[in-house]
Symmetry: C2
Subunit: 161 residues, 2 copies
Amino acid sequence: MQLRIIPKSAAGTDALRARGKRLTRPRRLILDLVRSTDAHPSAALVYREVRRHLPRVSLATVYRNLRMLAAEGLLSERADAGGTRFDGNTDPHDHFTCVACGRIYDVPPPAARRVSPRAAVRPGFEVHGQRIEFYGRCDACRRGSTRDRRRNYARAKPQGH
Amino acid sequence: MQLRIIPKSAAGTDALRARGKRLTRPRRLILDLVRSTDAHPSAALVYREVRRHLPRVSLATVYRNLRMLAAEGLLSERADAGGTRFDGNTDPHDHFTCVACGRIYDVPPPAARRVSPRAAVRPGFEVHGQRIEFYGRCDACRRGSTRDRRRNYARAKPQGH
DNA sequence: CTAATTGCAAATTATTTGCAGCCCC
DNA sequence: GGGGCTGCAAATAATTTGCAATTAG
């Protein structure tokens, strides 16, 4: 697995061009923003950030680009209570969702996993990949040292047991 | 109207009463329906089924009850592209999502997992539970022997890599 | 009885789409 | 220069809420 110190928008840019996609200002900015954070932002949050640099960009453009960039494999999407969140880290990795504040943290996958993807989930099933979802309380919430920041990312209910 | 005799509804019923919750007809039916299937139905699907027995029930009631039953731990919720789905199986288990048809299958957890919940996800983090999400093609789709049934449950995009 | 629950309709929130004009390659 | 992109506004889709009437215990 490679480290995530990617010169922001460089990588992927070519992949887009090859596909006949243009590299517009809003598009580049959206890609850079999502890639530069580990906060798994919602479309609305990306929108707010984008507008700090390009105030005329519309929410529709943000949605269109996020959707397209995910389809091209430059980002990934995560369905979450309260809306879709986007992840600039496309390497296989797991997540930890804090049931108190709703934040989602990345968790590097154990070295072992790649070697043993539980092969026969069910007979005849073809497993392309897997991901572990952990849930619990993050360090900050455990100490009660932080306020609920769910507002930033929409309420993130726990995803079940 | 006809009351099916459903053994499963017994459990949990008391838990509700203890909490001062009433056991209304719509409520009992909703609980039974979700518990009697492994299709991880959406609120809309539950609604359609409920109305086959109680035609006057409103969608709002279905939502209110699903939400409440999940909060009481009698069901669990799963955020999914296109909307929340509900799962009557509250035992720890994993899921397999077919990227072709969107169906979600239950996968029993390996015996080993309970013993080694990857403890230190991050320092200071308190892990309450975990769940593996597999994705790939199910047997039916692999053989091309079935049609896309996503209509039944809303489009279920893969959840990222 | 009487508080919890419901049906209905209207309100919110998340996301998508149609279209005329703009701007990358 | 021309087709992909964009902004805007209006359209959908998913979910929630206010409230008077209903009903379980």
